[in-house]
């Protein structure tokens, strides 16, 4: 099950191969960040009927390199009230988990280096996809501690928002990943990808889990990354920058790097979990997994930019409503329904309709239970709405004042 490079034990060649793989993954993430910053600026410009940066380097593609260089030469500034060790360590708490996450992403099939067959994947632990949840859990600390250690009120407000947001949406992440795990019956990312092989589009998880969990996952991971439209964490208008406000120079560059590395990594995770990873038609008999993988990631990234260019930012209470009242119940219901239909029916009936429903009692029960629970939940929300609806309460108070 593990990487075939380990079958003959650990000799020097294996160590070297692992070292090369680590460096390659590291470089891939770094270069993809440089690319992504430019890609986003270009794409958001196209969506604004503009060209975007086109001066530095060929067609402007070296702009992010120039920006990064400029950032490195800026003064490293620290506010007087900052908690120095935490202030210094916070950017790395955000950066390292992102790089670690990319190590579990399968980029393709296997290659042979000096007689050793190895996967195009750095690490393939049996608890694979839980590693993603762990890393995104640790990244919250980066945001939280950065805001806290700055010793300044706007970063603190931003980090409080960010922490609440990330913790809330982590539940959705977990539940939707559980749907995938139920379908593929493995936590291993390589197994998840292998389970989706064999047919372009048809065997992909986002079809097998009835699309909705994918949508929920995509929204949740967008909120997890504090990307627009969930970027109220760094709302310039309210917080003048959010948790990284007091950072400059290389420390700010780490945050920036972590943000975009997270975007690329999470797009790669989306492709792995829902779109078959490197699965795709062979070209002239050759498996071109990494190419398909890159194409899919690029499309997902473009959609992220598209969303950013289209949707306005959510308010804090809207964000919490969406998370707790809509997405968590929905993802739970989808988990129940998908899990309910996982028992393979052994019916030998010739009618496909009969074959679908016979011995599917757990699935039907799950649907029924989900509907009942959903109705109850919606009722509960409606009952509680009078007490929590800020807009309605405000209007009621206005009307009251008008009467007096």
């Amino acid at each position: 099950m593990g990487d075939p490079v380990f079958v003959n034990g650990l000799d020097l060649a294996v160590w070297l191969i692992l070292l090369v793989k680590v460096v390659v993954i590291f470089v891939i993430v770094l270069v993809s960040v440089l690319f992504m910053v430019m890609y986003e600026r270009k794409a958001v410009a196209w969506l604004g009927v503009r060209y975007g940066p086109n001066r530095a380097g060929p067609n402007g593609w070296l702009q992010s390199l120039a920006d990064g260089t400029k950032l490195l030469f800026k003064e490293a500034f620290m506010p007087r009230g900052a908690d120095k060790p935490i202030y210094r360590i916070a950017p790395y708490l955000m950066l390292i988990p992102v790089f670690l996450t990319f190590s579990i992403v399968p980029l393709g099939g296997t290659i042979t280096i000096a007689g050793h067959i190895t996967r195009l994947q750095l690490a393939d632990p049996s608890w694979g996809i839980l590693f993603l949840l762990m890393c995104s859990g640790v990244a919250v600390y980066g945001v939280m501690l950065a805001g806290w250690a700055s010793g300044s009120k706007y970063p603190l407000l931003g980090s409080v928002r960010a922490t609440a947001q990330m913790v809330s949406y982590e539940a959705v992440l977990g539940l939707t990943i559980a749907t995938v795990v139920v379908v593929t019956s493995s936590l291993r990312t390589s197994a998840i990808v292998r389970a989706q092989h064999g047919g372009f589009l048809y065997h992909w998880n986002f079809i097998h889990t009835l699309i909705l969990p994918f949508v929920l996952f995509a929204v949740a991971i967008t909120a997890e990354m504090t990307r627009p439209p969930f970027d109220l964490v760094e709302a310039e208008e309210e917080l003048s920058g959010g948790y990284n406000l007091e950072y400059s120079s290389i420390d700010f560059a780490w945050f920036y790097l972590a943000e975009y590395a997270a975007l690329v990594t999470n797009s790669a995770i989306i492709v792995t979990l829902w779109f078959g990873g490197p699965d795709g038609p062979r070209i002239a008999g050759n498996s071109i997994g990494p190419v398909w993988f890159a194409i899919k990631v690029l499309i997902i990234l473009y959609i992220y930019v598209w969303v950013r260019a289209t949707l306005p930012r959510l308010r804090y209470d809207q964000l919490m409503d969406l998370g707790w009242k809509r997405m968590i119940p929905l993802s739970l219901a989808m988990l129940m329904i998908v899990a309910g239909f996982q028992i393979t029916p052994t019916s030998t009936s010739s009618s496909p309709v009969a074959r679908f429903f016979v011995e599917r009692e757990w699935g039907l029960l799950a649907i029924l239970a989900s509907v009942v629970l959903f109705v109850l939940f919606t009722l509960a929300i409606e009952v509680g709405k009078g007490a929590t609806d800020v807009d309605a309460a405000y209007e009621a108070r206005l009307a009251e004042e008008g009467d007096e």
């Binding site: 196209w46 009927v49 598209w306």
Partner: protein
């Protein structure tokens, strides 16, 4: 559904022609009355138009113009008339290109070209003197090394660019009420913009004091006729004396 409508709106935009003008390579056409760098004009016979009256300096809200007039040398007059602009300086670090000097000038001496893309590396370069402002012997503006002149930037620098006619009225369309200048001649008037029968259309004889002075300096009598070229300088001087 309006949620997806928003995505359709933005999704179409990348396929539309871009609105950006790639500035240093391509430039938008400038308006005809654009306010750019000033020039000091000359008459078609090569005489300077400036008479050193300092009206431009007086009207300048940014106080960036410094003018000193001097008597014309009798044997070699610089301008038609008694006086000429002996010193003329504009500090372009202060100039706001409001065109008030152009409006105030009684002899249409100072006008603005279309050239605005220039920069200095020291403050002395920003103060333009007569040596830089005055058009050359061919009537063209002097193109300084730090200026970026484009074809057409030197056009329409006559008093035609003014908001008001020499009579002080805005309705000067359809009639030439300005003098020609060296190298370009007389700019034709724009047609069909105002009705000659309207009340604000100036009558032929309805000349302002400024215009009469201007005409007298150019050697044109109150009848609007120009004396024979050659003795214009002496003739004008005699007329105003």
């Amino acid at each position: 559904m309006s949620f997806f409508k928003g995505f359709a709106v933005t999704g179409r935009l990348p396929f539309k022609p871009k609105v950006t003008v790639q500035y240093p390579e391509e430039k938008r056409p400038k308006p005809e009355r654009f306010h750019g760098r000033h020039v000091l004009n000359r008459y078609e016979d090569g005489m300077e138009k400036c008479i050193g009256c300092e009206l431009c300096a007086g009207v300048c809200p940014a106080r960036c113009i410094y003018v000193r007039g001097a008597d014309n040398p009798p044997d070699e007059p610089v301008s038609p008339g008694e006086r000429y602009g002996f010193v003329y300086e504009i500090n372009f670090l202060r100039c706001i290109h409001c065109d008030m000097c152009v409006e105030a000038c009684p002899t249409e001496a100072i006008t603005e070209s279309k050239m605005f893309e220039w920069s200095f590396v020291n403050r002395e370069d920003a103060i333009y003197t007569k040596a830089e402002l005055l058009v050359d012997d061919a009537g063209k503006p002097r193109e300084l090394p730090w200026e970026d002149w484009k074809p057409g930037d030197d056009r329409n620098t006559s008093a035609w660019v003014r908001a008001t006619g020499p009579g002080g009225s805005a309705a000067m369309e359809g009639r030439v009420l300005w003098s020609g200048e060296l190298g370009y001649g007389v700019r034709p008037a724009q047609k069909g913009q105002s009705d000659p029968s309207s009340a604000d259309y100036p009558a032929e004889t309805d000349l302002s004091l400024r215009e009469m002075i201007s005409n007298a300096l150019r050697g044109i009598g109150v009848d609007g006729k120009r004396p024979v070229p050659g003795d214009s300088g002496q003739g004008a001087a005699g007329g105003t004396a």
